[in-house]
Amino acid sequence: MADAVHSEAVAEVPHLTHEEILHQEEVDLFNPQPMMVGLTWLTFLLVTIVLYKVAWKPILQALDKREETIRESLENAAKARAELEDIENRRNEIIGEADAKATEIVATAKQAAVDLAGSIEESARKEAEILVENARREIRTEQDKAMAALRKESANLAIDLTRRILEDQLNEEKGRQLADDMLKRI
């Protein structure tokens, strides 16, 4: 009804009073048009259904997927970094261990060398001592032997000598006594 009034007003250049215009405005602006409401619903429903298929669903899925991808990438990066750090730590550990082991080996070798040198020296000294001891003992034995032999020889010599001297003057018995005394004195 209002539309009809309206189109007429456009067709012929309007000569409406202010009151008419104001009245018309009120009628027109808030004129309920069920057809318009229905059209709006229809269009909106259409837009929602079509765009859900064409746009919203794929876009939201793509966004979710991208978020997932980004999160995964970040996680992977963090993991990789942690792994790298781990490897670095392990490397440092291994280097440290190797270093310690090397130091230990050198120390052990040095100690072993020192010990070996000590033991060699010790055994050499002992051997030398034994040799010296043996030599000394032998010397002593030889000396004793020589001494005994010398004593015996000198005794015999003395007896011989005495006998020769006293053969004429003394009897053999007195001479032997004399010789024994002499021996004791020696």
């Binding site: 059209l39 709006t40 619903w41 876009i59």
Partner: protein, 261 residues
């Protein structure tokens, strides 16, 4: 003198008439090639609805490239809006699960209203959202979700519970429940009027400023600059109102879905 005044008043009436014609619905479409008569069941704003829907289909069906792994250009721009609607409108107000589920609805709200708003700024087209029937229909959708969506989700008891805040003594409830139920409709009504009035008012202001030239002749020329300024403001308001309608719908539906305890 009196004749001049009368002439001025006539011009003013003419301008008023023109403005009114421009903002109200019409049974024809004024193009530079003359008026195109529309079928009985379709008015200018109805046509604008269809054209708006067509623009959206074109925008998202043809220009949007969701195959690209890295979005660029227009695709990126549209995704920014969708993401914003999901993360800043739906999820904070409707909760994570409902928010994600209802994002498509609010995306439709936002883009549909936005396109209709922006069409009003393009010569040749008219503002469908400046029609109270259109905004009313849209607000009714929100109201429908506030009522039937809540009943479907929380049951009738859950729906009624939304009107009865916890810890309120029952005598207060007698007063409070009718007010809350009234609030339900007032909120939707406000949604309808807000969008309708802002879109309509912006156009009236732009045309009034241009009308100054008709009434005052060359002296009214500076008002054209103002009109350009208002036009730019309108551009912003188009986005703002689409956002506000979407946001408030989400807030209202969210309040019904998850009543505060």
């Amino acid at each position: 003198m009196a004749a001049a005044a009368e002439q001025g008043a006539d011009k003013a009436a003419l301008v008023q008439e023109y403005i009114l014609h421009h903002v109200v619905d019409a049974p024809y479409w004024s193009t530079p090639f003359g008026k195109v008569a529309l079928p009985e069941w379709l008015t200018l704003h109805g046509l604008m609805l269809f054209i708006g829907a067509g623009i959206l289909f074109f925008l998202f069906g043809l220009l949007y490239r969701h195959k690209d792994p890295v979005p660029r250009g227009l695709t990126n721009l549209l995704e920014v809006f969708v993401l914003f609607i999901r993360d800043n409108i739906c999820r904070p107000n409707l909760g994570d699960i409902d928010g994600r589920k209802m994002t498509p609805l609010f995306c439709s709200f936002f883009f549909f209203i936005l396109v209709l708003n922006l069409m009003g700024l393009i010569p040749l087209f008219s503002t469908a959202t400046g029609n109270v029937n259109v905004t009313g229909a849209l607000a009714a959708i929100t109201l429908g979700f506030m009522i039937f969506g809540t009943i479907a989700k929380n049951g009738f008891g859950g729906f009624m519970a939304a009107f009865m805040p916890h810890g309120v003594p029952w005598p207060v409830l007698i007063l409070l429940v009718p007010i809350e139920i009234m609030g339900l409709f007032i909120k939707s009504f406000a949604l309808m009027i807000r969008l309708f009035a802002t879109m309509m008012a912006g156009h009236i202001v732009v045309f009034s400023l241009i009308g100054m030239v008709v009434i005052f002749g060359a002296y009214g020329a500076p008002s054209l600059l103002l009109a350009v300024g208002i036009y730019l403001l309108e551009l912003f308001v188009c986005f703002l109102q689409a956002y506000i309608f979407t946001l408030l719908s989400a807030i209202f539906i969210g309040q019904m879905y998850h009543p505060a305890h």
